[in-house]
């Protein structure tokens, strides 16, 4: 990445702490469960069945996990496209979160693929089936992970003292930055399109041709929410000053996107006459409102510009958006999915532990890397509490 930047530096500090040890333990538990899965089959550790063949390993780890990893994308969109250079200090930390989120979402796909040894078929003729939404998702996510590692490589090259390589790379970086915005736009929307072929098995609250736009917009807004959330955490966790000015301005952009999203979602529901489903007395309607509240609440909380300077409001809004985004994906793929009578799914404990382990691995990797590589902006000694 380049231009306008403040100096970024490795954070240093201890790598072995109670927090990192706990995270490592959780990751280890997940690894053991996955070993069992690879020896005995998917059913040995999960509750997925032929009625709900996609469980949380797909819907959380891949669908929600990759959306939560959209911080880098959402910030890049703003920095480079809207020409907002002042956000630069947020770029590397956000990109790192995305790098981990996506790499792990990509890797965790393998755990869920029954015949994972054939995965490469997706990218190869004669197997590649371009009409499949899954094909588009798989190709774009894979490419994007590669693009992110390239975007991120200056941090490594700096660490390894390869200025020459870094210089060469930076001449071409604009291309990767462009791809780094295009690819997530494509696959985040396609994650929604995956549902189209399910047809009438999906409740009308979530079955619409607007699905790509709905999934894309929520991926972007949750990208900002995650950046706000991460800033709050790293401000308290690493005892760094809170980048309030930037976050305030960021929340403004997020708010704008949210308003557009809610208008679009409501118009679509009205257009298709689907509101009736939202006022039924059932789980789907309830979950629909939980989802919607996740998006409405931040719009209310952050409506007044003054509130965008209040860390508590910002944090609640971010969490609320994360919940809403998660619910949208759970609703579309599980709760709003009716596959006929007699089917039931709730994740098993080992299944949940794998998901938790993946999240733990993500946080652990983040901590290790910010302490080791120049990622967070340098803090002037006067300003810091450390």
């Amino acid at each position: 990445m380049s231009s306008h930047a403040e100096k970024t530096v490795p954070l240093g500090g201890p790598l072995i702490t109670p927090v990192t040890l706990t995270l490592a333990a959780l990751t280890g538990i997940a690894a053991v469960i996955l070993l069992i899965r690879f020896i005995f089959g998917i059913g040995a550790v999960t509750n997925v069945n032929d009625g709900y063949s996609w469980g949380i390993w797909v819907v959380y780890d891949v669908m929600a996990g990759s959306a939560f990893a959209c911080g880098g994308y959402a910030i890049a969109l703003m920095v480079y496209i809207f020409n907002k250079g002042e956000y630069h200090p947020l770029v590397r930390p956000a990109l790192l979160g995305s790098l981990f989120g996506y790499t792990l979402a990509g890797a965790s796909v393998i755990f869920d693929l029954g015949r994972y040894w054939n995965t490469w078929h997706i990218f190869m003729p004669p197997w590649a089936q371009v009409n499949s939404v899954m094909f588009e998702v798989a190709v774009c996510i894979t490419l994007y992970i590669g693009v992110m590692w390239i975007e991120f490589s200056p941090a490594f090259l700096e660490r390894f003292g390869r200025k020459d390589l870094k210089q060469k790379l930076s001449k071409w970086m604009f291309l990767f930055i462009g791809l780094g915005v295009l690819l997530p736009s494509m696959h985040q929307s396609s994650l929604g399109s995956l549902l189209i072929v399910f047809g009438t098995q999906i409740n009308p609250l979530w079955q619409t041709l607007m699905l790509p736009a709905i999934f894309l917009m929520t991926a972007i807004t949750v990208g900002y929410a995650v950046v706000i959330f991460e800033s709050c955490l790293s401000a308290s966790g690493f005892k760094r000053p809170f980048e309030l000015d930037l976050i305030t301005r960021l929340s403004k952009v997020m708010w704008g996107f949210l308003v557009v999203y809610l208008v679009m979602r409501s118009v679509d529901l009205t257009w298709r006459g689907a509101w009736g489903e939202a006022f039924k007395f059932n789980v789907m309607a309830l979950c629909f409102w939980i989802e919607m509240m996740g998006f409405i609440l931040p719009v209310i909380l952050l409506a007044k510009p003054a509130n965008r300077r209040r860390p508590d409001r910002l944090l609640i809004s971010a969490v609320s958006l994360i919940v809403g985004t998660l619910m949208l994906r759970l609703n579309g793929f599980l709760i709003g999915y009716n596959t006929g009578p007699g089917w039931y799914y709730f994740p098993s404990l080992p299944e949940l532990l794998v998901t938790i382990g993946i999240i733990a691995a993500e946080i652990l990797g983040y901590i290790v890397l910010v302490r080791w590589l120049p990622i967070l902006p340098k803090v002037e000694p006067a300003k810091t509490a450390r």
């Binding site: 063949s53 029954g114 870094k166 295009l182 494509m186 704008g256």
Partner: protein
């Protein structure tokens, strides 16, 4: 590069609206439903003729080399309750009230066969990212190739009839679904769909879909009390039996329009939704999904234009000369 709050919000909103529009498909390059292949093969299942003997279930297992599945204490009989990773074909029963009379909706019972319908425009084929599900361009048989399959189970979740099933209890799983016995060779015990070959009453009949459709139309027009000949095995076999029509057929032929039609047809005296067959529109889900994909990504034209714009924007903001300040 100063911006006021107002410009800023406007920018965000405009950006949001642009993305929304970008991800909203133009209706232009609609991909219509696929049409019936020239030599489509299929089955006709007649619920009123089915006596629930499950000979077809046993023959299907034998023909496909699938293991028995137990649901009783003693583990003596193959008693599959549903399609599964071990079962491609089941007969299920509908029962209402005291369940005394066959083929009656109230206080009656009826049978229904569940197996792949070999859709004219199959969701499973459209969903599969690696062409493991394929529809034969001539016979229309929807087949599965485990050597291609990655086990993503998109076909399992996408099929509106719940047909493809996955093996959850093995490290080397595959998808299991009826392939209309297209693996049979001359000299095998079964010469065409085993379920049809063993059916004693002609409730399951094999043949070209157009002829099956004619036969279905003939049957649903029969009145109770009429005496009629029914063919067994495959259309044109000449192996017939004569019997009195006992039930009042409903005029509906299931599969004549559902998602653009299916090559396996079903007729009955009890409404299809009671027998567990879903109500489906005529426009195939596959065609809707592919229309969307083609509008967004056809020839990659749209993504290419967007990428061009993005690259220009990125180039404007990140000049290589100030790379040292990274």
């Amino acid at each position: 590069m100063k911006t006021t709050r107002r410009q800023f919000l406007q920018g965000a909103m405009a950006g949001g609206a642009a993305l929304t529009l970008g991800a909203t498909p133009p209706e232009a390059q609609a991909r219509p439903n696929l049409t019936m292949p020239p030599k489509a093969l299929g089955l006709l299942y007649d619920s009123t003729l089915c006596i629930g003997c499950k000979a077809c279930v046993a023959a299907c297992k034998e023909s496909n080399g699938l293991p028995p599945e137990f649901s009783t204490e003693d583990h003596l009989w193959d008693t599959a309750k549903d399609l599964s990773g071990k079962t491609k074909n089941v007969i299920k029963m509908y029962k209402d009230g005291n369940g005394t009379q066959k083929d009656r909706e109230t206080d009656g019972y009826a049978f229904i066969k569940h197996s792949c319908l070999h859709c004219v425009d199959p969701s499973c084929v459209s969903a599969c990212p690696v062409s493991a599900m394929q529809k034969d361009p001539v016979t229309g048989i929807v087949s599965y190739d485990e050597k291609s399959c990655i086990g993503c189970r998109y076909c399992v979740v996408a099929c509106p009839f719940g047909v493809p099933r996955f093996q959850y209890d093995t490290p080397f799983p595959k998808i299991v679904k009826c392939e209309l016995c297209n693996h049979l060779k001359t000299g095998d015990k079964y010469q065409y769909s085993a379920c049809a070959q063993v059916c004693p009453t002609g409730a399951t009949l094999y043949g070209p879909t157009d002829l099956l459709m004619q036969e279905a139309k003939r049957r649903v027009a029969l009145k109770p009390g009429a005496i009629s000949k029914f063919e067994r095995g495959q259309i044109g076999s000449g192996n017939t039996h004569e019997t009195v029509v006992k039930a009042q057929y409903l005029p509906r032929i299931y599969g004549d329009h559902e998602l653009g039609g299916t090559q396996v047809l079903k007729i009955s005296a009890v409404p299809m939704e009671k027998l567990g067959m879903p109500e489906l529109p005529e426009r195939s889900f596959a065609s809707i999904s592919e229309t969307l994909q083609h509008s967004l990504y056809g020839w990659l034209a749209f993504p290419a234009v967007v990428l061009g714009g993005l690259v220009i924007a990125a180039k404007r903001t990140s000049r290589p000369d100030d790379e040292d300040k990274v």
